[in-house]
């Protein structure tokens, strides 16, 4: 891409706004409101989880012990690092540092992908242990090992069901986040980076941080129930 290109990034002032300040205000506010809807979406799932956790405390503790606490912990670190690179990418976009922006977006994507790879290896592990409560798949939970009778061992299905639902919805958000990052990357490669067009990076950064934040809550909720 030559530096003589005169193409403008598509995020300069659009017709319905009076000035760029108004547009930035609207864009930021729109994203924050969207994040509020995401919080409520996950809120419904978290509520369901907490209700069942209090109803079936023993089964949930037993099932929680079979999760890979270390893998989840590493993933937490990976996501926190990706939030750091994302925040730096926003800074690079604001100061129109194109090379840094491209590098940091790439780093964020690599970390996001690493998270998904670790997550899916955890899923695969659960598959081998027969801990997936899906119709048509053999489910087996060794109750005796965890001091549960047969009826309580059956209740662990609820835990695994919610574990897959919650981390699955989170992983879907990671995919969406990675798609957004790749669009930003293409934009950064194709258009010149100016101090005017950083808004897409900034509001995508907000979204990325929220996915990170959701995981920060998911990790102790799902993995660390029995730690005091």
């Amino acid at each position: 891409m030559s530096d003589t290109t005169t193409a403008h990034a598509p995020s300069t002032l659009v017709h319905q706004f009076d000035d760029i300040e108004q547009q930035r205000l609207a864009d930021t506010m729109g994203m924050w409101l969207f994040l509020a809807t995401e919080v409520l979406l996950f809120g419904g799932l978290f509520t369901t989880f907490f209700v069942y956790r209090s109803m079936h405390h023993e089964a949930f503790i037993a099932a929680c012990q079979t999760l890979d606490m270390v893998g989840g912990g590493i993933n937490t670190g990976v996501l926190l690092c990706s939030s750091l690179t994302m925040a730096l990418a926003v800074h690079a976009a604001q100061s129109a540092d194109r090379r840094k922006l491209i590098a940091l977006l790439l780093a964020t994507m690599v970390l996001g992908l690493a998270f998904l790879v670790i997550k899916f290896s955890e899923y695969a592990h659960k598959y081998h242990e027969h801990h997936i409560p899906i119709r048509g798949m053999a489910f087996h939970f060794d109750g005796e090992e965890h001091g549960l009778d047969a009826a309580h061992a059956e209740e662990t299905k609820l835990f695994y069901g919610l574990y897959f639902a919650m981390t699955g919805v989170h992983a879907a958000h990671m995919f969406i986040g990675l798609t957004i990052l790749s669009i930003l990357l293409v934009r950064a490669l194709r258009y010149p980076t100016t101090t005017e067009n950083y808004m897409p990076v900034e509001i995508s950064g907000l979204y990325w941080h929220l996915i990170d934040l959701v995981w920060i809550y998911l990790y102790p909720t799902l993995y660390l129930i029995d730690l005091h």
Partner: protein, 548 residues
């Protein structure tokens, strides 16, 4: 309100045969409509699509009202009957009532009322319409070829385990449409916050904008929880992950909590915009300021807030704790306060006004009476002791139809008539319109008033085989429904007729205040030739009378 003319008067052009450029003649191709980002065109697209869903949902109602003429099962079998009332409920609620006033009138009017060129996110607005249409057509198709028999409430474990109908795909259709609702709400909130014209302070906003704002808050905060609930149902049904399955220790009542956490506020998504329209109609047709403007505006926010705290009144007989029932009952009673503030303020607004009995006011008067009746019967149902008697009877059916049809549809039609000249630049035929407004009022009451008595004397809802002593009232109800149906067909016909043959309206046929009347009809693509500057409160009829 006034527009400060910054430019010298343009010398009037020679013959005015070439029409002014406006949003309708900006393009005639299908592409210019399907790819438009103009909020006014998107409003018209919504108008067409929800009218379609209204008539499909109405067709289902026609069939089961016919079936209910006799106590036996003569026309349809039980399974078909269950599918029909589910189809009626799902289509009317998710694809007609929820988008009705916000998506049609809100889209068309909010930017104009606040003096903006468009909504904050025009492309998102178009995407919202596509999501509604995709979700709606998908759901309609599923219901026509297969059907769902769970009722619009999808209660578990029937919906997740036992029903042999197309629950999962219907849930997906509603899930998709939920995003339309969320994104429209988000768009309105951001627009109202950031794009008001100079001088348009919060307390100069028309009350329709205030109620749309309150509605949008519910859209944004409530809909995601429904999405979560539907997602869990779909996982349970599709993959057998037993989340609400009592056999695994799951709790079916938890689903009811999640469902009503959205679906009770959704009732206010349906009625709050109608209250906004009502405020406009009452002010404009009695040529008076709205009495207690700030109270009416704040009542909208109070309803939106309290609406999130009353969902438990749907579960008085579901095994919810008695204490929770008492708390939810008290909170439900509190909703009556802001609602009553509005009703009293509308009636007081009329006092000393110059009342014009045009069609929009007829609908507005219908709204006040029917909404009050619907609201007061809601208090019966909010009392746990009475609700044990009336739960799941026709009393409930009559109650919410008085709010949803007597309230929302009346206000919607009143609003459509009031702003029709603005939308298309033509007047509707007044006598036909008055005639059908009265016909709809009569038909509505004949349909639903007998249902109060039916329910009170013990006829349960959702049954099509009933005791013989209920037949007379059921026949009355079905007769009323036929009148109501004809009443709805009239506006369809004469409004369509008026597009070509109606009297040209001019920019302000009602001589009304409000920025939307200060621009040509139909308005140009960006609404105002120059950005208006607002220097007074809304409904300033006391000033207007002096200048005319």
């Amino acid at each position: 309100m006034s527009i400060v003319e910054e430019l010298p008067a343009v010398p009037s052009p020679a013959p005015v045969e070439v029409p002014e450029p406006n949003y309708l003649n900006a393009g005639y191709t299908l592409r210019s409509w399907l790819l438009t980002t103009d909020h006014k065109r998107i409003g018209i697209l919504y108008l067409i699509s929800i009218t379609f869903f209204f008539f499909v949902g109405g067709a289902a109602a026609t069939l089961f009202r016919l079936e209910l003429m006799t106590p036996g099962a003569d026309l349809v079998e039980s399974e078909t009957y269950n599918k029909l009332f589910t189809m009626h409920g799902v289509l009317m609620i998710f694809f007609f009532l929820i988008p009705s006033i916000p998506a049609v009138l809100g889209n068309f009017l909010i930017p104009m009322m606040i003096g903006a060129r468009d909504l904050a996110f025009p492309k998102l607005n178009l995407i919202s319409w596509y999501l509604l249409v995709i979700g709606g057509l998908f759901t309609t198709w599923v219901m026509l070829v297969g059907g769902v028999d769970t009722g619009w409430t999808f209660y578990t474990p029937y919906s997740s385990t036992y029903s042999n109908t197309y629950v999962m795909v219907t849930a997906i259709g509603i899930f998709i449409t939920g995003f339309s609702s969320i994104l429209t709400g988000l768009n309105f909130i951001v627009t109202i916050h950031t794009m008001r014209a100079p001088g348009m302070t919060w307390f100069r906003l028309p009350l329709f904008v205030w109620s749309s704002y309150a509605t949008s808050l519910i859209n944004v905060l409530g809909t995601p929880v429904l999405a979560a609930a539907l997602l869990l149902i779909a996982l349970e049904r599709g993959l057998g992950i037993g989340i609400f399955d009592p056999a695994l220790g799951g709790d079916p009542i938890l689903f009811q909590h999640l469902f009503w956490f959205y679906s009770h506020p959704a009732v206010y998504i349906m009625v709050l915009p109608a209250m906004g329209v009502e405020s406009e109609l009452v002010a404009h047709f009695t040529r008076n300021r709205v009495f207690g403007y700030k109270f009416v505006a704040m009542a909208s926010l109070a309803i939106a807030l309290l609406g999130f705290l009353v969902w438990g009144h749907h579960m008085f007989v579901s095994g919810q704790s008695y204490f929770a029932g008492v708390v939810f009952s008290a909170l439900s009673y509190m909703i009556a306060i802001p609602s009553a503030i509005k009703v009293f303020n509308w009636t007081t607004t009329m006092y000393g006004g110059t009342i014009r009995w045009d069609t929009p006011l007829l609908y507005a008067m219908g709204f006040i009476g029917l909404f009050t009746l619907g609201g007061l019967t809601g208090l019966f149902l909010a009392a746990p002791s009475l609700d044990i008697h009336m739960h799941d009877t026709y009393f409930v059916v009559a109650h919410f139809h008085y709010i949803m049809v007597g309230g929302t549809v009346m206000a919607y039609l009143g609003g459509i008539h009031f702003w029709w000249p603005k939308m298309f630049g033509r007047m509707y035929p007044e006598s036909w319109a008055r005639f059908s407004a009265i016909l709809i009022f009569v038909g509505f009451n004949l349909t639903f008033f007998p249902q109060f008595i039916l329910g009170y004397t013990g006829m349960p809802r959702r049954y099509h085989i009933y005791a013989e002593e209920f037949q007379v009232l059921n026949v009355m109800s079905s007769a009323g429904a036929s009148i109501l149906g004809v009443g709805y067909l009239f506006p369809m016909c004469y409004l369509f007729w008026s597009l070509k043959y109606g009297k040209p309206a001019g920019p302000n046929p009602w001589n009304a205040t409000g920025l939307e009347w200060q621009t040509p009809s139909p308005p140009p693509t960006e609404n105002f030739p120059i950005t208006p500057i607002v220097d007074e409160a809304p409904y300033a009829y006391h000033h207007k009378e002096l200048t005319h």
